[in-house]
């Protein structure tokens, strides 16, 4: 696998190679060459099985990371081709011509992240959230909890107590204490 990636590095401007396992590597390429690399891998390197396509929202960096995961059934290895695209007006060249199932992924990504794939069949059709009016629901900034709180009706009467705070109120209401710090784990 190392040889393969080294061979392709220059032509496809591969950066950031991570060998996650002996049979799985992730490579990053510029947006413009991603589809060419995927095609090259399919047509010349035996990566004939399209495993999946996925997207990760790196909202802090203003980027979406697209992943094309390909499998070579002969060598039994996988290569994940990654590329980063702008979150604003996100758009990517379509790969639907390469495998029959790709348009489904692209349709889902359009709905779930708002990434457009011009030319991809039925890319504007709803996939799982018919009639959705909020922002694309898989984006990091879509707050599921807030949404469900605003949309559904929790049964009233739920109330909880923080043990430490409750003990303070009960046992030493007037003592000096540490100001409770913002909980950044949750």
């Amino acid at each position: 696998m190392k040889d393969l990636i080294e061979k392709l590095t220059e032509d496809f401007k591969i950066s950031d190679v991570v060998y996650q396992r002996p049979d799985l590597a992730f490579v990053t390429v510029p947006k413009g060459v991603a589809i060419s690399l995927v095609t090259e891998l399919r047509d010349f390197e035996g990566f004939s099985h399209f495993v999946m396509m996925s997207c990760v929202d790196w909202i802090e960096e203003g980027k979406f990371q697209l992943l094309y995961l390909l499998h070579n059934p002969k060598t039994k290895t996988d290569v994940g081709v990654k590329t980063f695209i702008d979150r604003e007006n996100a758009e990517m060249a379509s790969a639907h011509h390469l495998w029959k199932q790709v348009w489904t992924y692209q349709r889902e990504l359009k709905e779930a992240f708002g990434i457009d794939f011009p030319g991809s069949p039925r890319v504007d059709e709803n996939f799982v959230v018919e009639g959705w009016t909020e922002m694309p629901h898989m984006r990091r900034d879509f707050n599921t909890k807030e949404y469900s709180q605003n949309t559904y009706f929790p049964r009233p009467g739920r109330e909880t107590n923080d043990p430490a705070e409750y003990m303070r109120k009960k046992l030493y209401p007037n003592e000096p204490i540490t100001a409770k710090k913002q909980d950044n784990d949750k």
Binding site: V18, Q20, R21, D23, L24, F26, S48, H49, F50, V51, M52, S54, C55, V56, D57, L67, L69, P73, K76, D78, G80, W99, K100, Q101, W103, T104, N126, F127, V128, V129, E130, H137, M138, F142, T144, K145, D185
Partner: protein, 398 residues
Amino acid sequence: MINKFLGFEPDKDKLPSLTAKIGDDIDLSSHKYQKIWLGPNHPGVTGNMAVELWVQGNTVVKAKTHVGYLHRGFEKLIERRLFVQGFPTSIRMCVAEPDTNEYLIATCTEQLSGYDKAVPEMAKWLRMLSLEMARLQGLLRGVPGQGGTFALGLGVQWGVYLRDLILDRFEELTGARVYHMYIIPGGVRGLLPDGFKERMEDNLRDIDDFIIRIRKLMFHNSVFKKRAKGLARITPDMVDKYGIVGTNARGCGVKRDVRKDHPYLHYDQLDFDPPTDTDGDIYARTWVRWQELIQTVDLIRQIMAKMPEKGDIKAEMPNVLHWKIPKGETYVRLESGRGEYGMYYVTDGSAKPRRVNLRGPSYTHAIALLEDMLVGADVADVHAIMVSLQTCPPEIER
């Protein structure tokens, strides 16, 4: 005979020929076509999924799969939870074999945190046992279920009973019948209860008997043969084009099995050879699954014989409440009853995953492949085709 008497001749050649070029844009107002919704609530549909069919006469000319009736945003929910809190949510991404989801979540987190080496031996064998039990109960429903799609309900009843016995074993091993929540990051949640192996062996013997009976009932059955043979054929060249995996691929002779190609757990210590067939039609796929039934029973026996008697069930790991995993990504796959089932898992150094993305075989089987396969099919065969591809809607929409 009776049809002749009634003056009805079911000979398609005598019917008016199709006027549409199949799959073309269809003008419903021409009154030559009809639109039928199969599902989302239809006994023949596997789960909550709908197939929108355009038919002319009995023939499907266009089909569209609709999912989303069951979307609960699990991937997103898991993103918002601690690593240990993922597995109870994940299982619902595939009801048919919930254990596969638990395994994937656990393995992804372990690989990314470096604890994969720490998973105890005992836990690995128990994981394998629960995964094979999951496959078995799936096949007990799936093999006779294919007969059911052609109105052969008897085998389904036999299968469902035996499946329930396996669920009894799941219940005593994991504490639940369907949503087992057994495989946890770092290990599993319990040793075999006393007498488990004996009870399992009793069940396996009943299943041995069933395997023979179902063969006679389904595979030496003129109706089943007549309808299933030649129907919905997958050819080897389609396999990569559509991303076909599992028994759907093996039914046409493309031997792919994650357990062999990328051995995980201790599958390399088990003696088995994934069955294949050549025809690629529904009969062939079902036949492969029937052979797999035999094989799974055998695998469970092998696992029970080879697994250690006792041992630790969980690795020593950080406090689950603060467990953080360094930034990274991985893809882990396993061979589910429906084929390659995988998970793309991304971490960002925090206590929660950044992205969890499931790759279920139905994502391609039940959309791109099914939609193309239905074109030209008889309406009466639609759900047989759907079932033969082992469609599982929850894994599509998650």
